[in-house]
């Protein structure tokens, strides 16, 4: 009970809850439509969804300033890639909030002549840029961690234990094979197969390292999953990669739940 009170006290937590409920309504509406529910129920769910969306837009009314402050803080980061990614991401988010505020004014009737479609597109474009930059940051962090992981493993292992021997190596060491005068002349039919094997093994090793890095770094994993889920929303709304309301609802709900997890457990939030 006490933790609910603390959770409810931050407006970000409330906004995430309402976002989760909004996308749950989208998903529910799609599922009920597929299941052949009545028009009245579908209308109720879409009204609820619109009401929550408008309330969230109202909650975003001061958020541009917060994003600008976050961008001001990100400018002082030491790592140049992180500095670039995060500052530009926060600036894009500030623009997204500004467009969203204009949309809210249009929807509530303060600006009745507003072209809502145009401004909605604008806001989703800025949101998409912000998400792409966040994903770039995630990829950069993963790359750094994988490099570190690879460096910490190479002194222990040698080539022969971690990778299969090269075809030239086999040919030269295996005494049963006929000695050839030139080592650089393997049979042409074996080359593609062994190249594929090398590539597959390398890929498998990279994947294995990726899994290790992500498992030992839950905040990064959570942030990556959240951004990957979120990116489908603007992709669908802008028509770049149309999925459908059900998929969008599921992705939005998943990313909101992950976001709520990072609020409940602050150690799960990726820093900076």
């Amino acid at each position: 009970m006490d933790s609910w009170v603390r959770f409810n006290a931050t407006s970000q937590a409330k906004e995430r809850l309402i976002r989760a409920a909004q996308y749950a309504c989208t998903l529910l509406g799609y599922t009920l439509q597929k299941g052949g529910a009545g028009a009245e129920l579908l209308k109720l769910i879409s009204q609820l969804e619109a009401h929550m969306s408008l309330t969230r837009k109202m909650m975003y009314l001061g958020s541009s300033a917060e994003s600008l402050e976050a961008a001001k803080r990100a400018v002082h980061l030491s790592d140049s890639v992180l500095r670039l990614c995060l500052t530009v991401a926060h600036l894009n988010k500030a623009m997204y909030f500004a467009c969203d505020n204009v949309l809210w004014a249009g929807k509530t009737g303060l600006l009745p002549q507003l072209d809502q479609y145009k401004w909605s597109h604008r806001s989703f474009r800025y949101y998409l840029f912000a998400l792409i930059l966040n994903l770039t940051r995630d990829a950069y962090e993963i790359h750094l961690l994988m490099e570190r992981e690879a460096r910490s493993h190479t002194p222990k292992s040698t080539w022969s234990s971690s990778s299969p021997p090269s075809p030239y190596h086999i040919m030269n060491e295996d005494p049963s094979l006929p000695a050839t005068s030139s080592p650089a002349a393997p049979a042409p039919v074996n080359l593609p197969k062994t190249v594929i094997t090398i590539v597959m093994t390398r890929l498998r090793r990279q994947l294995h390292m990726l899994v290790i890095v992500l498992r030992s770094n839950p905040p990064l994993l959570l942030d990556l999953l959240k951004n990957s889920c979120d990116i489908f929303i603007p992709l669908e709304r802008l028509g770049i990669y149309p999925t459908g309301p059900g998929f969008v609802g599921a992705c939005g709900l998943a990313s909101s739940v992950l976001s709520i997890l990072t609020i409940i457990h602050p150690w799960l939030k990726l820093k900076p």
């Binding site: 009970m1 009170v5 006290a9 609820l48 009401h51 909650m59 001061g62 917060e66």
Partner: protein, 246 residues
Amino acid sequence: MDNFITLTNQSQGRDRMFRAAQYACALSKYLLRNNPERKELVTKLQSLESNMSGGRKLLRLGNVVSSVEAAKRTIHLSDPVLCLCLTVANINRGLYFICDNVLWARSVGLIRDIDKERWSVNASRYYFLSLVMNLTRDVYVISQLMTQRARDKNFQQRLNRHLDDSPEVAEVVAPQLDAFLFVLFESLKSNPAVALDTVKNICDLFIPLDRLGIYQSNSGVVGFCGLISSLLGIVTLLQPKLKIKP
């Protein structure tokens, strides 16, 4: 800027700002009601006010638990009067939030066959009762402060000096009233949190008084009082030492 962000980060801060905007709209609507050139602006203000009110109702959905938790805390207070006033106030606030949540469900269409007017009147009634209990607590705290001050020897000297300094009309006729007011103002000056809370509760009281028909004012007065109390609420959030404790 930092203050603004600290305020918006708390959901109570955001709610107070929306409330201030909502009542500012109500006040502006009342002031412009007879102006024929501003009819479009009045419609926009009406739409803005109802949107903010609806949004705030959604944001209040979790507050019943906060009130129950607050009541659980105040029940352990040592002072019996404070314990009673604050616990009853928190319980009434919890009941008000329950009625408010039901009204929200009705407004979005989740519940259909309830008597909206009855639930709205009940919500106002519980809100009114919680305000009355808060005011009772304010009066009790002020009376305690005044008694404390009156007993203080230094203060008695200052009071006598004040009464002697101005031996004109009113003070001679009603020296006790003058002394009472002097002690009252000095106590309020020394404890601005109580003064702020009292003014806030008095302003807030006009809203349910008008709604329940006990003291019919008009929407302008309600808007003005709501705006003042929201602004005072924002001030207490920005300056935590101006918030009355407990």
